[in-house]
Symmetry: C2
Subunit: 339 residues, 2 copies
DNA sequence: GCCTGCCAGGAAAGCGCTTACCTAAGGGGA
DNA sequence: TCCCCTTAGGTAAGCGCTTTCCTGGCAGGC
């Protein structure tokens, strides 16, 4: 039960703790080879593992990086997280992943927690909340964290602390809408994400703009809000279909929901895209494996994660940076002109 | 840049650090309300956030839990991780997720790192390595960690430290094989995972046993090893098909590979299951969304994660426990008798 | 009115490290 | 030969907390 400490190692090797510390951290200070070996032997014999908390405290340096995501098991975040991790690992950083499960309070609590642990940076991924009070509190906490020497990077959010990676959600929404209108669709249903998320709002804005550009109008009866997952898409598609008999196309604000919608369409015996077109968003891996493969708006998720981490980890003290990431239309087989 | 410390708060409130500490941790020791308010006000004014490293050091308690997975962005681990996280959160624990990317050295390094951070527990998920040297080193490190008061839980591995959740991989393999033979298939190709992983070996053993039980034999020409992902399955299916013209069924050792195989089969114009049957493993979410929906062997991934975390977090000092998790056959539309 | 007992609050000793500073010994130059 | 400089290694002062133990003041009992 008892853990070997630096002092134990020093005692065993017959040297001072300073020497042991220097050897372990191979500090530039030269140490006689004989001593070094004695110490290393003692370390091995005692199975000594330094106490990282004590090290952090004494050194006052920041090593780990905290990442707050809505839910790692969601493929969207899984992709981003992979990019995040890759770059962090390249920099030799440990990543602490925290799932907020889209709960603003939990998100706030995690920021405090990462702050308390004096992580080098916190990366906040995924949609923010439209509620201004929450945003303000979060902003405040982030600034505080920065003020104490931590770095902040946000992905696809409207908070204005630290670096930011901003995917072109609005333009992406426009791309999806434009593609559909261009094909000749006029009655389009939209499966939106949760109404209180900025990502939902941004993508929807793009869709509205596309409608307007084509001389159409997206009314509330053509929009259904749902959870950003398969089940949400499934349920919303059913509602949309019941409410709008003439629907010839559905735009889902992410691919998971599109997959859910696709399942419902199949259940209803509707041919995609012959009878109804479907377009997703994000270009998640699954979109090529469903039948038909999904047309979608591609966001380079892994790259977004990687860039965010690069920003968060850069050493130069330059000002906060904002990088935009372009969305691209990916046409596959789920869209076609209405018949 | 300067962080407020306990001492700053104490000074500002005109009390000792002891009092502040007691108030902040609301220790049982009673404190006059007036003082408490003064201190809380000072905390708010200074935006004080306790230094978690110092707290850990002083308290010598263990709070966070470390989780080592192969890759969180892999749906298999994403599911498990979700269960892990859920339970950890219920216990108010912070989870540190580490991706080993199937590199034994990295895995070893992470165990050290979590040990160094004095996490309350480390949970090791996913297949272990067949190489005995690696296993022994890992075993040693885990035991060491336990000896210093940490808990260990492993999921689906053969290391023998701490608690263990063992999914019935072998029986699952048998179920898949048995189902196929029972349908009348005799020439079955197997898409296996990486050869050095125990999970691959275990599932394969079950398949061999099923073959044997039905009076057949699985030869090396019917087995192709690949990466546990979609691309691996795609490539392996091609090889298998070329090598065995008479193949009437393919068993993939996980669903991701099965999805890859399905894509290849479609490319080759082979109807599933009319011309060739396909069965997966794990029952990942995607398996219901491909066409045809995949027959597979279900492992309750989220539950496995949850149970592992429960074991790792239990307070009673009981002996290490081993819990087995049953695999179940899920027949969907990708399997049928050979024609 | 004095002594005892209780209680709120403070002083200080760590927790396990790192590191600035100091010491002692050895080597080289004059 | 003597002195000074270099250098390997040690001493000890923190890092920011927690917690044990102690103190001083007050109320109550005799």
């Amino acid at each position: 039960m008892l853990v070997a400490t630096l002092a134990d190692v020093a005692r065993r090797a017959g040297v001072s703790t300073a020497t042991v510390s220097r050897i372990i951290n191979n500090s530039p200070k030269p140490v006689a080879d004989a001593l070094r070996e004695r110490v290393l032997a003692a370390v091995a014999e005692l199975d000594y593992v330094p106490n990282a908390n004590a090290q952090q405290l004494a050194r006052a340096d920041r090593t780990a990086v905290g990442v707050i995501v809505h839910d790692v098991s969601d493929p969207y975040f899984a992709e981003i997280t992979r990019g995040l991790q890759r770059v962090a690992t390249e920099h030799g950083r440990l990543v602490i992943i925290c799932n907020s499960y889209r709960d603003p309070e939990r998100e706030l609590a995690y920021v405090d927690l990462l702050h308390a642990h004096r992580t080098a940076a916190v990366v906040l991924t995924g949609s923010g909340y439209i509620d201004p009070a929450t945003t303000a509190r979060l902003d405040h906490k982030l600034r505080l964290f920065e003020a104490t020497g931590g770095r902040v990077a946000v992905i696809g959010r409207h908070e204005h602390a630290g670096d930011a990676i901003v995917p072109e959600n609005e333009h992406g929404g426009w791309l999806a809408g434009d593609a559909l209108y261009r094909l000749g669709h006029t009655s389009i249903g939209v499966i939106a994400g949760p109404a209180h998320l900025t990502t939902t709002a941004d993508r929807l804005t793009g869709l509205h703009r596309a409608a307007h550009d084509h001389g159409h109008n997206l009314t509330t009866r053509h929009i259904e809000y749902a959870g950003f997952d398969r089940n949400g898409g499934h349920a919303a598609a059913a509602i949309l279909l019941n409410r709008n008999p003439g629907l010839t196309a559905i735009a889902a604000l992410n691919d998971s929901m599109a997959v859910g919608a696709l399942a419902l369409l199949r259940e209803r015996g509707l041919e995609v895209p012959a009878q109804i077109s479907l377009i997703g968003f994000d270009d998640m891996p699954i979109s090529v494996d469903v039948t038909p493969p999904l047309s979608t708006v591609r966001l380079p998720l892994e790259e977004i994660g990687a860039r965010a981490m690069s920003l968060a980890l850069r050493e130069d003290g330059t000002d906060p940076q904002v990088e935009h990431v372009a969305a691209h239309l990916v046409l596959r087989a789920s869209t076609a002109p209405p018949r």
